[in-house]
């Protein structure tokens, strides 16, 4: 079940995974190494033992004579003593004429497997009396044909039992196996220790994170963590800071919302109390009008708060729409409010950009909300008989909706601070201002864009821009 296996491998601990991958690999490497050692040991043993075999061959060769007529070999005892000292098995030799008619020594030594070249010794393995033997053979010309033969060359063979060299290489391989086993064990122990040391930061991290309280959203320290774990911790930290941001945003929203609503409710309470104490029906009526106006403001605040809450959570559904139509719609909606302050609210088409590519892509409802808030703010803070101009623009990177007024404008510090969510300018007391900008900013950000507050180019005033990129 390979699927089962891979699933289990995926779920296995790093320890198991390493053991599963590392141990067979090490074992295979060790086995290959052993095999090569055995091969080398055999080759080395053969080379060394063949040398002494060749020495024996040469010394027999030097003692061959045909001077007496027959083939003869003088056999000094010391030569044989020397042979048998170097070999642990028997040493055999055979000297024979090329026609095989005259032969000395072990008559039935196995013949060389191939025809021998004159004067070139050859080595070969064979079996002699059920025992594995290594033989050296050498053929050379004779000075004269020995009696009883027509052959003019002589074949000299020297063989010895391979027991000695087998024991040598077996001993060699045994010690190599022992050494490799030891090295393998040490390697595994060392790897285990090194792994334990290498994995300690991970378990420490797990302990630290596990020990945190549920509301602890501070960053996890990355400094003394391994480089491999740092991206993971950084990602977790990023996730955590996003969460923290969200949590603090929501907390601030709640703070803001309760503050806003409490202000309205306090005012309403005061107005209601006043109306109840007043006996003059005209005064009561005026108080009731004021009460109505305050309820309208409270309603607007509540709507704005809901819009803000929604702009954070509602899903953005971008679609193509006409920016110019949106400008016109918002201007028409807010025209009565502007008229009340005798403010000239107008739409500028094609002044600031050559020919805006007005079909834009965004969530139209959200954009309408954002633009409406900006225009309301402008009406609220622009003195009577001021001018407010709306226009749209586009470039290769994105689109923008612009609201320009000739009101008092904002100082540089205020511009930097305002539009930060729920932060209020010096004139925050007028109510709703902070929320409107915050809503516009939130919507711009939901479109991966931004809200810019700039000083008007010509004269005092504020130029608010919602910009968002093409996708």
């Amino acid at each position: 079940m390979p699927l089962n296996f891979t699933a289990r491998l995926r779920r296995a601990s790093l320890w198991q995974r390493l053991a599963l991958l590392l141990f067979p690999a090490l074992l295979v490497v060790t086995c290959i190494e052993l095999w090569m050692t055995r091969h080398d040991a055999l080759a080395a043993a053969n080379a060394a033992y063949d040398r002494s075999l060749l020495g024996a061959l040469k010394s027999i060769d030097a003692n061959i004579s045909t001077a007496s007529g027959g083939l003869s070999v003088e056999l000094p005892y010391t030569m044989f003593e020397f042979f048998e000292l170097t070999a642990s098995g028997q040493v055999f030799f055979r000297v024979s004429t090329s026609d095989g008619l005259v032969e000395l020594g072990s008559a039935d030594l196995p013949a060389p497997p191939a025809e021998l070249a004159m004067g070139v010794p050859a080595f070969y393995d064979a079996t002699y009396f059920g025992e594995a033997v290594r033989l050296a053979a050498y053929r050379r010309d004779l000075d004269r044909t020995p009696a009883g033969s027509t052959g003019r060359s002589v074949l000299i063979q020297v063989g010895e039992s391979t027991r000695s060299r087998q024991e040598f290489s077996a001993r060699f391989v045994r010690s190599a196996a022992l050494r490799d086993g030891l090295v393998l064990a040490m390697l595994l122990c060392g790897t285990a220790i090194a792994l334990a040391a290498a994995l300690r930061p991970l378990s420490r991290l797990a302990r630290e994170v596990g020990a945190r309280t549920s509301d602890d959203l501070t960053r996890i320290a990355e400094t003394d963590l391994p480089a491999e774990v740092r991206p993971l911790v950084a990602a977790v930290n990023q996730q955590m800071s996003r969460t923290q941001e969200l949590v603090s945003q929501q907390r601030q929203f709640l703070d803001d919302a309760s503050h806003q609503l409490r202000t309205h409710l306090t005012t309403l309470q005061m107005q209601a109390d006043y109306a109840r104490r007043e006996e003059d029906p005209a005064q009561v009526r005026a108080a009731l009008d004021a009460l109505g106006a305050e309820i309208a403001r409270a309603t607007r605040s509540a709507q704005q708060l809901l819009a803000l809450g929604r702009s954070d959570t509602v899903s953005v559904e971008p679609a193509e729409f006409d920016l110019e139509a949106l400008l016109r719609e918002v201007a028409v909606d807010l025209l009565p409010m502007a008229r009340a302050k005798r403010i000239d609210l107008g739409i500028d088409l094609g002044i600031h950009s050559a020919m805006p590519d007005f079909p834009a892509v965004a969530d139209r409802a959200l954009m309408r909300e954002a633009l409406g808030n900006l225009v309301s703010n402008a009406i609220a803070y622009t003195p009577a008989e001021g001018t407010i101009t709306l226009f749209a623009a586009s470039d290769a990177a994105g689109w923008s909706l612009n609201v320009e007024d000739n009101g008092p404008g904002l100082s540089e510090e205020e511009r930097a601070a305002l539009g930060q969510r729920f932060l209020r300018g010096a004139r925050a007391g007028k109510g709703g201002f902070g929320l409107g900008l915050a809503i516009a900013r939130s919507i711009a950000q939901r479109h991966r864009g931004e809200l810019r507050l700039e000083a008007r180019e010509a004269g005092p005033g504020l130029h608010a821009i919602i910009w968002w990129p093409r996708t």
């Binding site: 007529g69 005892y77 028997q90 005259v102 039935d108």
Partner: protein, 339 residues
């Protein structure tokens, strides 16, 4: 090629053995292998002591078992009897119809473990037919007139004398030469020993004065002398003087050198041959040895009396192996372990 009758008899015997073991045994005892066709394995090439042993066995057996087909002569050369011994001991060759010739040389090799890892009990020793004796020969014109002259020369400088013989280090001839050098009070390791294919070549070399002394056997020396090779026998390595062609040749002992070297010749069988068959063969050779014409037949093959069978032969083999092992140790010959 066995005859159909033989096949039938084998089949019958097998059947008997299957049906009733005791009856089968009696049936087998009834069939005497010495009356049946059999081979004598000569574990060497043609010519030489083993061929001679088988020829003598054939002739002697024919004298007491006139109805039997003549003993077949079969050659199985290799390792001076080692191949044949190994084949018999490992069961590749055997049966009650396969006799193998052996000599003291075989026992010497067996004692040194040169016949493979087999004990002497791996075969059944049947009979010895006679013995040859070692001789020490020199060129007729050699300055060494007596054995003492040679011993004296060896004492002076053992490397001055080159011995020539068939066989290599550890062989009978080498051991004889080594014992002679030792008798001269010198280290046999300093000895010069030239190995030839056989005694014949060695004697030719002696004739050409390429070697100085020949520590071979009487039979081959006499054969060479009969062929005109100018050889003088300095000593015969027997306990007492021998007759025949060796009349007048003194023993080594007489000349103050205690060196006796018989080369006993005989036959063995495979160890798995059933006891009745072994007994039948032993009886046949005992009869052959006691037959009136045997002495002449043996002399004709150049052998001297040495007839042993049964336990006496087993004891002799054991004693010889022990002596050869001691000798090998004394002479610094390596012995290979036998099981």
């Amino acid at each position: 090629m066995p005859s159909p009758a033989l096949h039938r008899r084998h089949a019958l015997r097998a059947l008997c053995a299957l049906l009733a073991p005791s009856f089968g045994l009696r049936a087998m005892a009834a069939s005497d292998p010495s009356e049946e066709a059999a081979d004598c394995v000569i574990p060497a090439k043609a010519g030489g002591g083993f061929a001679l042993t088988c020829a003598l066995a054939r002739d002697a057996l024919q004298a007491v078992r006139p109805a039997r087909p003549p003993l077949g002569q079969r050659y199985l050369p290799g390792g001076i009897g080692a191949v044949a011994f190994d084949r018999i001991a490992t069961g590749k060759l055997g049966g009650q119809g396969t006799l193998v010739a052996f000599s003291s040389g075989s026992l010497l090799n067996l004692a040194q473990g040169r016949f493979g890892p087999h004990p002497p009990s791996a075969v059944r020793w049947i009979a010895t037919l006679g013995t040859d004796y070692g001789v020490v020969a020199v060129h007729r014109d050699s300055p060494f007139r007596r054995l003492q002259d040679l011993v004296a020369a060896l004492r002076q400088d053992p490397s001055r004398i080159a011995f020539g013989a068939g066989g290599t280090v550890g062989s009978q001839d080498w051991v004889k030469a080594a014992l002679l050098v030792r008798a001269a009070g010198r280290d046999h390791k300093a000895m010069r020993f030239v190995s030839f294919e056989g005694g014949g070549d060695a004697l030719s070399a002696l004739q050409g004065r390429h070697v100085d002394a020949f520590p071979g056997d009487a039979a081959e020396a006499l054969q060479a002398m009969a062929g005109g090779t100018p050889v003088r026998l300095l000593a015969v390595l027997s306990e007492n003087r021998l007759g025949g062609a060796l009349t007048g040749v003194p023993t080594a002992r007489e000349q103050g050198v205690d060196l006796v070297w018989p080369t006993v010749r005989g036959l063995y069988l495979s160890a798995d041959v059933p006891e009745p068959a072994v007994r039948a063969w032993v009886a046949a050779f005992r009869e052959a040895g006691a037959a009136p014409g045997y002495a002449a037949l043996r002399e004709q093959h150049g052998l001297y009396p040495f007839a042993l069978t049964g336990t006496a032969l087993d004891d002799y083999v054991q004693a010889q192996l022990k002596a050869y092992r001691r000798l090998a140790d004394e002479l610094g010959l390596r012995r290979w372990p036998t099981s």
